[in-house]
């Protein structure tokens, strides 16, 4: 099976671990993720101004690429890219006036009316592969690992694009259990990590992010699973600053969901690129005996 794949800027640099693990895992599941040609940055956030169309050009152009290159579905890994592309797609489908204006303006591109479906890897796994099949393909169940999946904002809000019901989503729970791990529920699973505020208002952002770590730890989670490079920055890479400012918290390893998928499928640790995670990530897996060879 082939599917169009939209990486997003960060997956080619800082979040290469999210990408490499995903591509390898999909290959193991007999899915070829074909990267779109000539894609551009989607803008990371969906423009919320009703009169603003210029910020829609970027995501719409990527959807046009997917359509022109013959894909009826485009797969995303980054939650923010998923959200931006999905919302832009809905607009092109539903709003005739704006659709016409955008199509007329982008005269150098083909016309687009929402023909491509935007999917995130989690709902792709659920709908196209199925949890049962995934369970069967898992080689090394992640037993003895208590995982707290963190959705963040953009996978489940707003309702029109959510990958699962916005209140009490279960898709990540099903994913964790299909990998043989223990699911840990915590009340901050869909709370915002503070997103771009880590740049503009870092003190407030660190405080907000610390509440998520605290909440997951209060439920005795071994690790946090993430889908978004910005969440990973706020909760993973900046965790040292969080731990420093908010005493009483222990380090909490963070992983992208695709990395744990790759480990469970028995793939080479090198595809997981643990070198891009904080050191605690690889350490935890080694302790639990889940890294077959030395971590790369």
């Amino acid at each position: 099976m082939k599917i169009g794949y939209y990486p997003g800027c960060t997956l080619k640099s800082r979040a290469k671990n999210l990408e490499d693990a995903a591509i390898a895992s999909l290959a193991r599941l007999n899915v070829e993720a074909v990267e779109l040609e000539r894609w551009n940055c989607c803008g990371a956030v969906y423009s919320l101004a009703d009169d603003d169309l210029i910020h829609l050009l970027a995501p719409v152009r990527d959807l046009i690429r997917a359509k022109d290159q013959g894909f009826d579905k485009v797969l995303t890994l980054c939650s923010m890219c998923y959200n931006t592309l999905a919302r832009a797609n809905l607009l092109m489908k539903d709003d005739e006036e704006k659709r016409n204006t955008i199509n007329t303006f982008m005269e150098e591109e083909s016309d687009y009316a929402g023909e491509v479906e935007v999917v995130h890897m989690l709902n792709f796994l659920r709908d196209e592969i199925g949890w049962e099949k995934l369970r069967q393909v898992v080689k090394h169940p992640l037993a003895d690992l208590k995982l707290a999946p963190y959705y963040g904002c953009t996978l489940t809000r707003p309702r029109e694009v959510t990958i699962d019901p916005a209140v009490n989503p279960v898709i990540f729970k099903d994913f964790v259990e299909a990998l043989g791990a223990t699911f840990v529920n915590f009340d901050h699973a869909t709370e915002c990590c503070s997103s771009y505020q880590m740049i503009s208002n870092p003190e407030t952002a660190l405080k907000t992010a610390s509440e998520i770590i605290a909440s997951a730890q209060s439920q005795n989670a071994d690790a946090l699973i993430l889908s978004c490079p910005l969440c990973e920055y706020n909760l993973g890479r900046r965790q040292d600053a969080i731990l420093e400012k908010h005493g009483g918290l222990k380090p909490l390893p963070t992983y992208y969901f695709t990395q744990l998928l790759a480990v469970a499928l028995g793939l080479e640790p090198s595809v997981c690129r643990f070198d891009l995670n904080p050191p605690t990530s690889a350490q935890l897996l080694q302790q639990k005996g889940l890294l077959a060879q030395t971590a790369a």
């Binding site: 800027c9 551009n40 050009l57």
Partner: protein
């Protein structure tokens, strides 16, 4: 005098009437011959260039020109020295635009994308609106190379922006207020120094020159005889010898096979 030869006109060259067409230079109408380039047309109209002209050969980027045609909202671009006038062209030059040019210490760089981000953070304001690509007189997809730099692919960006002549028209149209061409220049420099493999044969040659390997051959050339600076117009024996040497030098033919070797290894680095 005969070997120099002056052209003797045997007959009068026939007079050609140039057809005049209207063009609007900075809003004012002029009638100019239709076969002229914009640059020549502006000079025909009486403008004297002290900015906005350079190589006159399409490569220096000084003469970026923006124009419109009647009844058409599209903004068109071209280099004044290369673009031929069309009737009712409504044009202006943009010889300079105050685009941000970062100051950085070349010696501090290690060739990483983050180094570009540090001095040009406005790079992330790009909206992918494509206005820059549309205005590039060299048909470079500017948006594409900015997208490549945003995702850390400096090699690709350097490749795409290779033909850039630094005219600055992209920066004039940019909504994010980026200076795309300055950013790309930094990226190309990084690629040249850090990403492309070092040129080993060049380094070897430089070593050879420094170690004096070529000095004997240079001395042999000098031994042909001294040229009299006061009599350079005379075709002296020395000049004849040099010309012969030059014309008979070994050259690898354009269609040489991979295994071509020179007949003599005189002055070649072994």
């Amino acid at each position: 005098m005969s070997d120099q030869g002056t052209l003797a006109l045997e007959e009068e060259t026939p007079k050609v009437e140039a057809k005049l067409i209207p063009v609007y230079i900075m809003g004012k109408k002029y009638e100019v011959p239709e076969s002229l380039t914009i640059m020549k047309a502006m000079e025909y109209a009486g403008y004297k260039f002290i900015r906005g002209a350079g190589c006159r050969g399409g490569i220096c980027g000084a003469c970026g020109t923006v124009y419109r045609l009647p009844g058409d909202y599209h903004i068109r671009v071209g280099l004044a020295c290369q673009t031929v006038v069309v009737p009712n062209m409504y044009l202006t030059q943009i010889p300079f635009f105050p685009a941000n040019r970062a100051v950085y210490n070349w010696k501090d760089l290690k060739g990483e994308a983050e180094e570009v981000y540090k001095v040009y953070p406005e790079l992330f304001r790009c909206l992918a609106c494509n206005a820059c690509s549309k205005v590039c007189p060299m048909d470079i997809p500017v948006m594409d190379y900015i997208a490549a730099i945003k995702r850390g692919d400096l090699e690709k960006a350097a490749e795409i922006s290779f033909d850039c002549i630094q005219c600055g028209l992209c920066a004039t149209r940019c909504m994010g207020e980026l200076a795309q061409y300055h950013i790309a220049q930094m990226v190309r420099r990084i690629r040249g120094k850090f990403l492309t493999p070092p040129s080993e044969h060049c380094e070897k040659q430089v070593e050879a020159i420094k170690s004096g390997y070529y000095n004997q051959y240079l001395d042999e050339l000098k031994a042909l005889g001294a040229l009299d600076p006061k009599a350079m117009d005379k075709v002296t024996a020395e000049i004849k010898k040099l010309k012969t040497l030059y014309n008979e030098r070994q050259m690898e033919p354009d269609t040489a096979e991979d295994d071509w070797t020179p007949e003599s290894d005189y002055a070649l680095l072994k």
